[in-house]
């Protein structure tokens, strides 16, 4: 590992201080953005969310690479653990987008159900055409 005992102690103290500062920054940002520190300040959720995710990823990097010593491991080991994890991140993002789609679909259906449609000839013809298409494709 190449670090002397004293250097290792100093490094650990440095990392934990950085982690503590990042944590305070995350919480501070969360409270600031929601208006708890000053009533007039409100950040859009996309910006605060984005910054907090980045800060958490930095914390994750420090914990995995320094505390768990990933930095000093053989590249093969590093890749065999981190590449699947990156795929996980992709899965998380994909599912958040999926949840968004569900919400939009549900709201669309709700709006359509509650909206009033005048039953004129055009609408009736549309309905007949749709029915024909459905029976044809079966």
């Amino acid at each position: 590992m190449g670090h002397s005992y004293e250097d290792s102690k100093k490094l650990a103290t440095k990392i934990i201080t950085i982690l503590a500062i990042i944590t305070i920054a995350e919480v501070g940002l969360a409270l600031l953005a929601k208006g708890y520190i000053s009533e007039s300040i409100h950040f859009p959720i996309a910006i605060t969310g984005g910054i907090m995710i980045i800060l958490s990823l930095i914390k994750a990097y420090l914990i995995v690479y320094e505390f768990m010593h990933m930095k000093y491991e053989v590249p093969g080991l590093v890749k065999s653990v981190l590449l699947p994890t990156l795929l996980l991140v992709w899965a998380v993002i994909a599912f958040f987008m999926e949840g968004d789609y569900w919400r939009n679909s549900r709201n669309y259906i709700k709006d359509k159900n509650e909206s009033k449609v005048e039953m004129n000839d055009e609408v009736k013809q549309e309905g007949r055409l749709l029915e024909e298409k459905t029976y044809q494709s079966n």
């Binding site: 005992y5 290792s8 102690k9 650990a12 103290t13 990392i15 934990i16 982690l19 503590a20 944590t23 305070i24 995350e26 919480v27 969360a30 409270l31 929601k34 708890y36 959720i45 969310g49 907090m52 995710i53 958490s56 914390k59 994750a60 914990i63 995995v64 505390f67 768990m68 010593h69 491991e73 053989v74 093969g76 080991l77 065999s80 653990v81 699947p84 994890t85 996980l88 899965a91 998380v92 599912f95 958040f96 999926e98 949840g99 968004d100 569900w102 919400r103 549900r106 709201n107």
Partner: protein
């Protein structure tokens, strides 16, 4: 979990990929397997967080975290996210003490290892105590269960027609997005009545409505995910205790791989801290 592939001093064991005598990735079997176990555990937690995230994003309203988590021991209220920040610091600090324990193990300082591992265990127990307090507040005081969620948020602006004896008084106005908690007294839920002050998706101005319960999934997701994490903290504390006692008896002094056992449980402990970083982010900050 000591290195079983021993090379005898007199003759060399030929290193071959499948014939033994080699250390893939230059790591011991135990350490490599701990990494892969943590990877599999990461998939499990990711699955749960995906379930939470997807369901939450798919709903129009969701309990506002800084409103739900705003109590502090000592009867304090309106301290949003204070307590959970304290919990995060406790776990973070216990990760630091774990690093120190591993460092003392590397210079074979038995007493140093015991000291720093003890601090780590105390940190873990402290975190569990805090989580228990949090659960008690939610379950016994605020009556969140896996079937009912009294935390919700208003969809439209309005004015309250009655008070709840806590923060809300008759005549208090609120805006869209404002969170509320339905209180329960003597076994009875008190869904406050209010009047809408403008037209919107819920109804027209002047309509009288009642506070509705929030999304049912909140309780199940919160308790299951924090419970699963807490279970990991608990099992981590148990293992830390066992290994600390092993260190104290001098079990690792003569081992060929020294205090590697402390390193391995250290990896597990840092993983538990890492999962908390993301649970904290997803449940409390976002």
């Amino acid at each position: 979990m000591a290195d079983a592939t021993v090379t005898h001093a007199d003759h060399q064991v030929e290193e071959s990929n499948w014939g033994g005598g080699s250390r893939p990735f230059k790591a011991s079997y135990g350490k490599l397997m701990m990494w892969y176990f943590l990877l599999s555990d990461a998939f499990t937690f990711a699955g749960f967080l995906i379930a939470y995230g997807t369901l939450r994003v798919s709903m129009n309203t969701w309990p506002v975290p800084d409103h739900v988590f705003s109590t502090f021991p000592g009867g304090l209220h309106h301290k949003p996210l204070y307590f959970v920040t304290v919990m995060t610091f406790v776990l973070l600090f216990s990760s630091f003490t774990m690093v120190r324990a591993v460092q003392e193990g590397q210079r074979e300082n038995k007493n140093g290892v015991v000291f720093w591992m003890l601090l780590t265990i105390l940190g873990g127990l402290g975190f569990l105590g805090c989580q228990a307090w949090e659960w008690n507040t939610l379950i016994a005081k605020e009556h969140v269960s896996i079937t009912k969620n009294p935390f919700s948020a208003h969809v439209q602006a309005g004015v309250y027609l009655e008070g709840d004896g806590h923060d809300i008084k008759e005549g208090d106005t609120f805006e869209a997005g404002e969170p509320y908690l339905i209180h329960k007294h003597d076994g009875e839920w008190h869904n406050l009545k209010y009047k809408l002050t403008e037209d919107g998706p819920q109804g027209k101005a002047g309509d009288v409505m009642e506070q509705q319960f929030g999304p049912k999934a909140f309780g199940a997701l919160f308790f299951f995910i924090t419970g699963f994490h807490g279970f990991h903290v608990l099992s981590g504390v148990v293992f830390l205790l066992i290994i600390m006692l092993n260190v104290a008896t001098g079990l690792y002094v003569k081992r060929r791989n020294g205090y590697e056992m402390v390193e391995k449980i250290g990896l597990y402990w840092h993983f538990v801290d890492l999962v908390w970083v993301f649970v904290f982010l997803v449940f409390y900050l976002l």
